[in-house]
Structure formats: structure tokens, C-alpha cells
Symmetry: C2
Subunit: 372 residues, 2 copies
């Protein structure tokens, strides 16, 4: 049934070349302008004629030519998505959310990978521009400032980054996990970051620290530095930390939390009985590992919606006043390059799972080995 339909469609489409507006027009003895008006609903066409045109259109299997439309209107209805490093495990969520939001707004998403490199990022952006995208969503690498391009840009990083359009409130997220652990009675923390130059990670860690009162001890390690010095596969030396009294380890990503978790488990340290572990981002594996990871979830769908909406608003807006910016007078702001959204930050949600729990006092017997 379904396949039948698809095949029938092709039958017609392949019969010669794909039909255009004038083909519909001549088939009905009207002008192509009328067809355009009828299908777009813009001009004045009688209701009955509209109906006839619609019918003929999908009888012929008409598909509007995006090239023709783009050429005429100057807009391609495609947005570019620039990612710092596609291999980022968070990327699927981002891409999915952006694609859905864009699709709802009638736009397509062209992707570009900047491979974490700043110059590659520049190249990626110009490739997208050449392809005629109407706007860009950029997840910037570290503190990269986006140069002046010829189209609106939405930046998704973190609220503390200047020029940020919209993002999760990473600071608040950090505060939430930290407070959760403090409430459980933890007083000695190890905070685990990866890249000390990352705005997002600094915000997350900053948020965590903000939740610590006097009387709480903590230390921070940055994995990138550590791993560069000691090699990728090195142990993080967590056992010593635990022996020295750490009871809670909070990482800036589930990826690192997982590393921590498995290292502890291999050493026979019980999570969460002896040590609580938390991550960030609610990556795909987080709910299904044992113990499931307590983490902080970001509402990527909402962030994407806000970013895309801001972008689309600016794009449609620039239609009305095409040349508001002269090169002579750059009135302070760089010609509305990076768009703004309201709200510009989206709350993060704490997901309490099994890897965090109340502190178990030293006199409580700790089981070794089998739990069953």
C-alpha cells in the first residue's frame, strides 16, 4: 500500500522531467503566476481555482524547486550548524534538537564539523556561507569569538560567554548537583573537569563551588592536563583521594563520571555507599549503567527552539529592511550579527539516580565483594 503509493509517484515523476509551475499552469490553461499565487496563498485566486490547481499539482507530483525559489527570494531556508567536534557524545542530542526545531520552522540543517580547530572552524563557516545558508548556529570551540560574517548567527555556549545567544544555565546546574550532595551530608569533594579553558566547564565548576559553605573541603583536577602528562590510559589516582577522605566526586560530564565510576568499582570501592559520583549532560549510557548515574540534564529541545526562533526572527526581519547597515557607520554593535534570545538561559534539571547517596559514617560496616 505504502510502497504502491511511492512507486506510483515515481512513475509520473520519471515519465519525463519533473513538472514545474508552468506545466501545471498550461495543463489548466492559466498563467504560472496564478499557480504560484494559488499554492502560496498570497495573491487573489478564486477558491475553486485554488482547489483545481492544488489537485493538479499533486496529481503531477509537483515539487517546488528550492533553487528557483532561493534565487528569487534570496533565501535558501537552510541553516548551518557548526559543531566544535562532532565526536562529542552530546552532539546527537544537539543535532537532533536543532534538526527538529529547524524543521518545524521550515528550515533544513546543513552540518559542518570544525574538528575542534579554530582555523578549521573558520573554513567550515565559509563553506556554509558559500552554500547559501540563511543563518548559523554555532557551538563555539572554547572562547572562540565569531568573526563578522554575512548572516545572522546564534551562539550556543554558556551564559557567561559574551555574545551567547541562548544556552543551558550551567552554573545553576553545577549549584544544583553540589547542593544535592551537600544536603546528603558530603563535606569533602573532588571536582573533575577536563578542559580548563572551556567556558561551559568553568561555569559548571563555578556553580558547584558556589554551593559550598564554609566547612566544606574540595579540590579540582583538570583531566586534559593530567592525561597529557601521564598518558591517556592513566589511572586518576582516585583511591588515594578516597583514602584521604573524599566522599563525593563531581565531574563536568557523564563521560568523566563514568571513568571515575568504573575506576572506583574496579578498586572495590562501593558507589554510592562509600563514594557518590555525579556527572553532567545525561548521556545515553547514564541511566543504564550500574549504579545509574546521578547527573544534570539540559533541555536541549528548548534551547534549540529558542536559538532557531531567534535566528529565524532575525532572518525574516532583515527581509523588510534589507540594508539597515552601512559599512561607514558601524553604530557600536556589529550590525546585529549574533542574535539574542529571551530568555537567554534555560534551567538545568537535576536527575537523582543511584550513584549518589547519603554518606555512610565510618563506623557503619562496609561490605566488600558480593552484594547479593
Amino acid at each position: 500500500m505504502h510502497q504502491q503509493g511511492a512507486l506510483a509517484g515515481i512513475e509520473v515523476a520519471a515519465s519525463r522531467t519533473r513538472p514545474n509551475m508552468s506545466k501545471i499552469a498550461s495543463a489548466l490553461g492559466v498563467s504560472s503566476a496564478t499557480v504560484s499565487n494559488a499554492l502560496s496563498g498570497k495573491g487573489r485566486v478564486s477558491a475553486e481555482l485554488v482547489e483545481k490547481i492544488r489537485k493538479k499539482a499533486d496529481e503531477l507530483g509537483y515539487v517546488p524547486s528550492s533553487a528557483g525559489r532561493a534565487l528569487r527570494t534570496g533565501r535558501s531556508n537552510v541553516l548551518g550548524l557548526v559543531l566544535p567536534d562532532i565526536s562529542n557524545p552530546l552532539f546527537p542530542q544537539i543535532a537532533q534538537a536543532m534538526e527538529a526545531a529547524a524543521s518545524n520552522a521550515g528550515y533544513g540543517i546543513l552540518i559542518a564539523d570544525s574538528r575542534g580547530d579554530v582555523t578549521t572552524q573558520t573554513q567550515a563557516i565559509s563553506r556554509l556561507i558559500e552554500r547559501g545558508v540563511d543563518g548559523l548556529v554555532v557551538i563555539p570551540r572554547r572562547g572562540t569569538r565569531i568573526g563578522d560574517i554575512g548572516c545572522p548567527v546564534a551562539m550556543v555556549d554558556t551564559p557567561s560567554t559574551p555574545g551567547n545567544t541562548v544556552s543551558a544555565d550551567h552554573w545553576e546546574g553545577g549549584a544544583k548537583v553540589a547542593r544535592h550532595l551537600v544536603d546528603l551530608g558530603h563535606k569533602n569533594f573532588l571536582l573533575v573537569g577536563y578542559d580548563p579553558a572551556s567556558n561551559v566547564q568553568n561555569d559548571r565548576i563555578g556553580g558547584m563551588k558556589s554551593a559550598f559553605d564554609r566547612g566544606i573541603k574540595y579540590d579540582t583536577i583538570w583531566l586534559e592536563t593530567l592525561l597529557r602528562e601521564r598518558g591517556e590510559q592513566t589511572s586518576l589516582g582516585l583511591i588515594d583521594r578516597v583514602r584521604d577522605g573524599v566522599t563525593a566526586i563531581s565531574a563536568v560530564s557523564d563521560l568523566h563520571a563514568l571513568r571515575v565510576l568504573t575506576e572506583l568499582q574496579t578498586a572495590g570501592i562501593k558507589v554510592p555507599q562509600q563514594v557518590s559520583v555525579t556527572g553532567f549532560d545525561d548521556l545515553i549510557f547514564s541511566p543504564v549503567v550500574t549504579p545509574s548515574l546521578t547527573t544534570v540534564h539540559m533541555d536541549m529541545a528548548r534551547i534549540a527552539e529558542l536559538a532557531i526562533a531567534a535566528l529565524v526572527r532575525e532572518i525574516e526581519h532583515s527581509k523588510s529592511e534589507p540594508n539597515a547597515n552601512t559599512s561607514q557607520k558601524q553604530n557600536g554593535k556589529a550590525a546585529k550579527q549574533t542574535v539574542t534570545a529571551e530568555p537567554s538561559k534555560v534551567s538545568m534539571e537535576l536527575m537523582v539516580r543511584a550513584s549518589s547517596g547519603p554518606i555512610i559514617l565510618p563506623d557503619t560496616p562496609i561490605l566488600n565483594g558480593k552484594t547479593l
Copy 2:
């Protein structure tokens, strides 16, 4: 320096509307046809004039209009990538490889998420077609057959799927891990799949079984069924399996291997001393968990290259003979819809890491609890 250049470019671009070929042409007193010929290197233009035109072009910050070109040539230089479920953790690798391969071939990648649903997949495909893509790369959902569309399609699934263009040799991969474990002395296996309807997973498991001689016991469980019956967070009951003699657990994905690994570790079962665990796909976390996961890696870059190359070949080819297919005589094959590549399967690489090891005989004392 770099930023200077970018800004200077904008300065000009923003000065009014972006320049086109005729602007360059009139600035130099030549015809726009000559400019086109000069920049494309196709027609006959004197070397010096070519040089002058080139210079003027990037002096004015000329960027060719992809819409104009697409309209005229009938080709957009954009390919669509249809993914079964973007949230698939393997997706970053796929997208990155495809983007790189396409970019090298001068194409852009437009993404579409089919959210695992078959009807959504159909919609996603038509959205891409409407956007004017020249071809499609489809990572199909389960055994989906791709209906007849108006453009060439490369299917990346598994060699046993009819119509498959190119993919990893999942069967061989399965055989490789299994043989590895057999060589280590394992004789009692638990094979862990997720979706019993997945061609890829069936091939992987089929490959594993093919490596088992007589005298090897194995059982297979499918998580989707299990989890649907008992709930997402359920224990997989691995402890019982181990008690019953299983010494090696092989999953069809690192995601499931990780689930297995952490469940075992939590129960105090040592990996790999008591049980070996292996996965598939070499996901981002696999090398950094403890113990690092033995897995099977696929050369996604090569697969992407082959798929894109096959697609591009067909696209360029159809340029020369535009209407080889009449709707009347469909000569057996469905008008070269899904393209073919040579080779059509790419070898998988076994990554031996720390989660697999030689069997430790029952008389060897097994440590409980702390290893240090």
C-alpha cells in the same frame, strides 16, 4: 591578521549588496560569460585576463550564488543524510565521516532524523528531496526497504541486506571477537543483542556463532524484549549466568557491554579475571572506562568515502544521460536507484583491551573486594 582579513571582507560585502558575476564583469569591462569561464576554467580565456578576474573577484569578496548555479545546472551539490535515530551513540562518528567525505568531494550534508520511525523516515526523505539534494545516504531503520525516490541513494547497513551499498563487515567482526575469546580458552558464552529485528545485530551475532566449534556453549538474549517486559532499569540477571558457568559475555554494542560491565562490577564480579566482556563500535567511552573495553572498531571514514564516491559517481554520470529511464520499460532494475560500491564491505578491526583475558580456572583463588 586572520580576523583583519575577515573583517575587511565584510566591510566590502556589507557596503551594499553582495557582488555577483556581472559586477565583476562590468568592473573590468568584460562580459559576465567571460567571468564565468575564467572562474570555472572551462571556456577559453587568456591567462592574464583570468588572473585579473580572479584578483577582482576576491577583491570584491565575490561568493558564487549556489542558488543561481543550482537553478542553472540542476544540481545543488548537497547530499542528504538520513539517520535512523540521531541519538544513536555511533552517530557522531557517522556524521563526522560523512561530512568529511562529502566536503572533500565538494558536497554539503543536510541531515534528517527519522527518529527510528518508518513513516517519519519517509517524511524525512521527502523533506530532503524538496530541499533539492542530489543524492541520499540512508542508514536504514531495521529492514526498511527504501522506496523509489527521484535521486540516487546509498544505503549503509550490513552486507546481508539486499540493496546495501557499503558497510562494515559486521559478520566478520563478530567472528573476530568470538575467535579472540575462544583462543583465550572461553567455552561458555552469553551473547547480548538489543533488537532482534536488526540486520546489523543479527550479522554480528551470526558471525560470533560461526566462530564457535563443537564443545562451545552459548546462549543469546535480546535486551529490547527483556527490558520491555521487565522495565528499563531492570537487572540483566548476569550473576546467575556467571554462577551457571558463563565466562564470556559479548554484546553487539559497547553501550550494552558497558551495561554488562558495570552490572558485573557492582556485584563484585571481576572483569576480566572472572568474566570477559566485549562490545562493538569502539564508542567514545570504551577506551577510558576501567577496565577498558575490548571491542570491534569500524573504519567509518572509509565506509563514508566509498558511499559518497559511489553516490557522486552516479550523480555526475546521470548528468551525461539525463533520461535513460522511461517509465514504460523499467528494465528489471529500478533505474539505478540505490548505487553500488566496490568493495561493498569494509573489514572491522578487533581492539583488544583490558576487559577480555584468559580464563582463570576454578581452582585459582578469586579475590573479592579490594585489589590493591
